[in-house]
């Protein structure tokens, strides 16, 4: 079974959307806007335990499943980070575990944000993606058992 919209379809959508911006300022304003639409994590996930390590800004990540699909909620206390996090959630959440674990995520390169994926970056987006893939791998390992508390 495959998702109606695949990860690569979603990536293509994002790339198209960002093609509108020449200026870094416009791009970051858009990223910040995206962050504002993020629903955030449930209160019990806004704890140290669910925090992604290695960020100067704080990032919380809440994994879960819906049927066969892995879903993520996330939040951050910094606006740019929150926008980046929203982008990742938009592309990966609601996809099959295997697809998430394997996703090359080339779109960050295409929209000129590849640097943010560097593990040396203070926002820790790399750590977040790693964490999302770990959760996905864990879920796919468990097959269809589901459960919210990954």
């Amino acid at each position: 079974m495959t998702a109606i919209d695949t990860i690569s379809q979603r990536e293509a959508e994002v790339v198209e959307e960002f093609a509108l911006f020449d200026e870094w300022l416009d791009k970051y304003e858009h990223i910040i806007e995206l962050g504002k639409s993020l629903s955030g994590v449930d209160p019990e996930f806004r704890t140290d335990h669910w925090k992604v390590k290695g960020c100067q800004s704080q990032v919380w990540l809440q994994p879960g499943t819906e049927g066969d699909l892995v879903v993520f909620k996330a939040d951050s206390d910094a606006a740019i980070t929150k926008g980046l996090v929203a982008l990742m959630v938009r592309v990966l959440s609601g996809q099959p575990a295997e697809a998430i674990a394997r996703a090359p995520l080339g779109f960050l390169e295409s929209i000129g944000l590849r640097e943010h994926l560097s593990p040396t970056r203070a926002n820790g987006l790399a750590s977040m993606v790693k964490q999302m893939k770990l959760y996905a791998a864990a879920m796919s390992g468990r097959g269809n058992e589901g459960g919210q508390d990954g």
Partner: protein, 412 residues
């Protein structure tokens, strides 16, 4: 504009720093992260390159010419650091990897032999982690108590509380910074030292942010230990200095073992070299000595007094223009400060601000500045910090202020 340097002099000084001609994101670099690492003039870069090209060889005990030359450069800079600090003799200067290692050295040698389970160490609330965590690690081994010297709202240390702590605890050691890297506050360490001594305590001064910016004389301060890093004073990375009173060094056991720090080695027992070499195990970072010579030449030529005076001008200017921005709050408002301005912006995360400023070519440091307890004291997770150098200009500070106003429009 400056009463210290003419425009031409400032231009000439800036011209010595190659990195200042860099573009960042298509804009000329404004480097306001000098407290993290300072930049180096060409003379420092060239001195190290020249050394590598012509004199490189392992130091000490080498009979051949290159080794002799390298040893003279390496030991020669010890003399210069001794005279820079007003040390009683060159043997009071121990080289380490940085201020951090220098403080750890004191903890693991003097601390490990002199602190007891019932000892107390006073540590300032604003300390860099380098002057808190070594004491915590040692305390977890020995069991002594660490008491905090509290900070006031202007980011000065509460001197009344300090004296009360001395009275109450009769601590073995006071570990305190000379200048706060997070806020720029200059603490009255000479007074604090005499109070410490009056109560039978020794005092370790973290000079990482003072030695590069003002004249520091260990006899005038009358402290017992002083640590700093070369990379913060236009010098090489990987080199730091511990100054300690000779009597203290003489009584301290070795820490790391290896080449150069020994007298005689055998399986049945080993004896150790005199200080400072006793504390310098292994091949030293001798190339750095060439760089530090050149950095000291630079500072001597400009004059540390003029460096200080110039940075005071910049500080005043920064307080003025940043202080006038609505929604910007400066943390660190004590009267005596070095060239550091730390601030927070209403409703804006320091990380976002740092990202935006970076896009404008402005390099500031954001976050906790390795001083989490200090951040906690002010109820913030971090600040935006601009720190100055002798080459900083008022125009650069104005660009920072304009950048802040611009980012507030987008982010607030």
């Amino acid at each position: 504009m400056s009463a210290v340097f003419s425009e031409a002099e400032i231009a000439e000084i800036r011209g010595r720093f190659p990195i200042l001609s860099r573009q960042v994101h298509g804009k000329p670099l404004v480097y306001l992260d000098n407290a993290a690492s300072s930049q180096v003039p060409s003379s420092v870069i060239d001195a190290m390159s020249d050394f590598e090209r012509n004199h490189r060889a392992n130091v000490h005990r080498g009979v051949h010419k290159l080794s002799q030359e390298a040893t003279e450069v390496h030991e020669g800079v010890r003399d210069r650091v001794a005279s820079l600090l007003g040390a009683a003799c060159r043997e009071e200067i121990v080289f380490a990897r940085g201020a951090t290692e220098a403080i750890n050295l004191v903890a693991c040698t003097w601390g490990a032999t002199n602190l007891r389970p019932d000892s107390v160490v006073l540590v300032g609330e604003l300390e860099h982690h380098a002057n808190l965590v070594p004491w915590q690690i040692l305390s977890s081994r020995i069991g002594f108590r660490i008491e905090k010297i509290p900070a006031l709202d202007d980011a000065s240390l509460d001197q009344a509380a300090y004296r009360a702590l001395l009275e109450r605890h009769h601590p073995a050691l006071v570990a305190v910074q000379h200048v706060s890297n997070a806020f720029g506050t200059v603490h009255p360490v000479a007074d604090m030292a005499s109070a410490a001594h009056a109560h039978g305590a020794l005092i370790l001064v973290d000079g990482a942010q003072s030695v590069p910016h003002r004249s520091v004389d260990v006899r005038a301060l009358d402290c017992d230990f002083l640590a700093f890093s070369a990379h913060k004073m236009h010098g090489p990375t990987g080199l730091g200095v511990l100054w300690a009173r000779k009597e203290l060094l003489d009584a301290m056991p070795p820490w790391q073992g290896g080449g150069d720090m020994i007298d005689k080695v055998s399986f049945s027992g080993t004896t150790f070299h005199e200080p400072p070499w006793r504390f310098e195990a292994g091949t030293p970072h001798y190339v750095a000595a060439a760089g530090l010579h050149a950095a000291l030449d630079f500072l001597e030529e400009i004059g540390i007094g003029r460096v200080h005076a110039r940075e005071q001008e910049l500080l005043a200017h920064a307080h003025e223009v940043l202080g006038a921005i609505p929604g910007l709050r400066i943390l660190g408002t004590a009267p005596d400060k070095e060239g550091v301005v730390s601030f927070v912006l209403d409703g804006i995360h320091h990380y976002d601000a740092g990202m935006f400023l970076d896009q404008m070519g402005i390099a500031v440091r954001t976050g906790h500045h390795c001083a989490q307890p200090a951040m906690e004291r002010f109820g913030v997770t971090g600040t935006i910090r601009a720190s100055f150098s002798v080459f900083t200009t008022e125009e650069e500070i104005d660009r920072l202020a304009a950048g802040v106003v611009r980012l507030q429009r987008v982010l607030a």
